[in-house]
């Protein structure tokens, strides 16, 4: 009789790619619900289109690369990319926008670099940036939260609007959309309106950030904290990102409150919270060492603030993430932990 030799570890964690991906999607659910509450069914339609496109593209590429289709298709990574990108797109954006962004993310940003685990850049953010620089008008027409409460769009009308751009009752899309809070701040500053004037006079601003946005960001924060509690992500990257954005914003706010927005607006508007917890923490493209993660997150926060304040775009999170993705391997190279038993250099 032979006994199969076995070696440690004897207790296995049950974590797997699928489980991690699904948990991140669960953590997004409160924010998606808040999005539906404030901006209507658009986000659900976006997600449906994005997920369908992502799974089709993934299956097609896996077949072309002669890889087994089902295990990779069901690992949830394409699903997560699609959901993250769909949440970042404006509700009621035309269907081809979503299809193009997700297709680019899956085919070019993920599979041409070698598939899950090999992609140097966050696929969802590559898709987002491609759309942002190619179709600036579509990407900046967000629905306004209070106008939608006057003209509620049901699910069927939302689908029609997404597919052929037709709104019921001869509504014009321009009548429903308006600039996002950060966009408003930027354009008003160019017109020499001070921050406090803009925030108090524009109905889009709420208590902490933009109206509606602050609730969505609160829901994202909740989901993100749950991810840390479940140990899907560590606290380093989100803390570094939000801490850096808030610290630099506070510094400039104290220096001149009329031209630099408050740290609260910077934290609770735009993509700061969503990005800090859900985008920057992508295990493939982020820094993998603990001290490296602090530097990586701080870099994202710094670049986000710089692009927001002095750059051409209202929000710079996607660009900041892609730029820091590029240096993540270098950061890891310098912050490799000491191997047990070896001396520090």
């Amino acid at each position: 009789m032979t006994i199969a030799p076995s070696s440690s570890p004897f207790a296995h964690g049950t974590s797997s790619v699928t489980k991690v991906m699904l948990r991140v999607i669960y953590a997004l659910l409160p924010a998606i619900a808040a999005c539906v509450w404030f901006f209507g069914w658009g986000v659900i339609v976006n997600i449906l289109i994005a997920v369908t496109t992502a799974l089709l593209c993934e299956a097609l590429i896996l077949k072309l690369r002669q890889r087994p289709i089902m295990p990779y298709l069901l690992d949830g990574s394409a699903l997560l990319t699609a959901v993250l990108l769909a949440v970042a797109l404006p509700p009621l954006s035309p269907w081809w926008l979503t299809v193009l962004g997700v297709g680019f993310a899956i085919i070019i940003a993920k599979h041409l670099y070698g598939g899950l685990g090999y992609n140097p850049f966050n696929p969802a953010m590559v898709g987002y940036v491609v759309l942002l620089i190619s179709f600036p008008r579509e990407m900046s027409s967000w629905l306004s939260p209070q106008i939608l409460s006057d003209y509620s769009l049901n699910f069927a009308a939302t689908i029609t609007a997404t597919l052929n751009g037709q709104l019921p009752n001869e509504l014009q899309l321009d009548a429903l959309t308006m600039a996002t809070p950060l966009d408003t701040l930027k354009s008003q500053l160019r017109l020499d309106h001070s921050i406090s004037e803009t925030v108090s006079s524009h109905p889009i601003f709420g208590l902490l950030g933009g109206k509606g946005w602050e609730w969505i960001n609160g829901a994202l924060l909740l989901g993100g904290l749950w991810l840390i509690y479940k140990r899907v992500i560590t606290w380093h990257i989100p803390a570094a990102v939000i801490g850096t954005v808030a610290a630099i914003a506070a510094l400039f706010y104290l220096y001149d409150a009329e031209t630099y927005a408050s740290p609260l607006i910077h934290t609770f508007s735009g993509a700061t919270i969503m990005g800090a917890f859900f985008i920057a923490t992508d295990p493939v493209t982020a820094s993998a060492t603990l001290r490296g993660r602090l530097l990586y997150g701080a870099g994202i926060g710094l670049l986000t603030y710089i692009i927001r304040t002095w750059g051409g775009y209202p929000d710079g999170f996607a660009f900041a993430v892609l730029l820091m993705n590029m240096v993540a391997p270098t950061i890891d190279h310098y912050y490799q932990p000491r191997v047990f038993g070896h001396k520090r250099k």
Partner: protein
């Protein structure tokens, strides 16, 4: 090796196996900067083709009279003179196209592919072989410029041969093909990232074709790890 086979090898190298843009990856600056339309690509392609042919022939002619110590400055002088002549000719006969291509015409001097051919081929081979090499290298480079230009123009603007009147005069107006009416435009393809992605895809297609040709359908299935 008979001379005919040798000429065939030179031609094949220039057009495919040692293509300036796809294999040597030389001259990327003009390649990426001007290929936003077919006509721009064709214009710069022809200018580069003329330069590489003329400089190859001249360098090959004087190859026994130049001391090796000073060959590089001599080559650069020859190339610069050729480019200056071409630049003046273009501003005389194709002024509009000359204005569109702008700085990239004089910059042909710095296209390392041309100095590369002078150094690696023309300074060591006969005038006739250098002429064939210059022609095939130049045509290979121009073809990539045109294909990349077509790719970016079709994706970015939905047209082909737009502004053909810059090169072909009044006839050119009829040459413009609109692929899709009321196309919204895909800005990424026109912008610099589109050039990098497009060139990357072209190189990938070339490598895939070479691989397919060399292994003749032997498939190695890759299993999941």
């Amino acid at each position: 090796m008979s001379t005919e086979i040798q000429y065939r090898k030179i031609t094949n190298d220039g057009l495919w196996h040692n293509n300036v843009a796809l294999v040597q990856i030389l001259g990327l600056c003009p390649l990426l900067a001007v290929t936003s339309t077919v006509i721009n690509g064709l214009g710069l392609g022809i200018a580069t083709l003329l330069t590489v042919v003329l400089s190859n022939v001249i360098v090959s002619t004087i190859r026994h009279h130049v001391k090796p110590e000073v060959r590089i400055p001599v080559f650069v002088l020859i190339i610069a003179s050729v480019v200056t002549a071409i630049e003046l000719a273009m501003s005389a006969y194709f002024y509009e196209l000359f204005k569109v291509l702008g700085i990239f015409i004089p910059l042909i001097v710095t296209n390392c592919a041309i100095l590369g051919r002078a150094e690696a081929f023309a300074s060591k081979n006969s005038v006739k072989a250098s002429l064939v090499d210059g022609l095939s290298m130049g045509i290979g480079f121009a073809l990539v410029l045109v294909v990349l230009g077509a790719l970016r123009e079709a994706l970015g603007m939905g047209t082909l041969f737009a502004n053909a009147q810059l090169m072909f005069g009044e006839l050119g107006h009829a040459m413009t093909i609109t692929l899709i009416d009321e196309y919204r435009g895909f800005l990424l393809a026109i912008l610099p990232p589109g050039a990098f992605i497009g060139l990357g895809l072209l190189i990938a297609v070339k490598n895939a074709m070479d691989e397919k040709r060399s292994c003749k359908g032997v498939k190695v299935p890759i299993s999941a790890r």
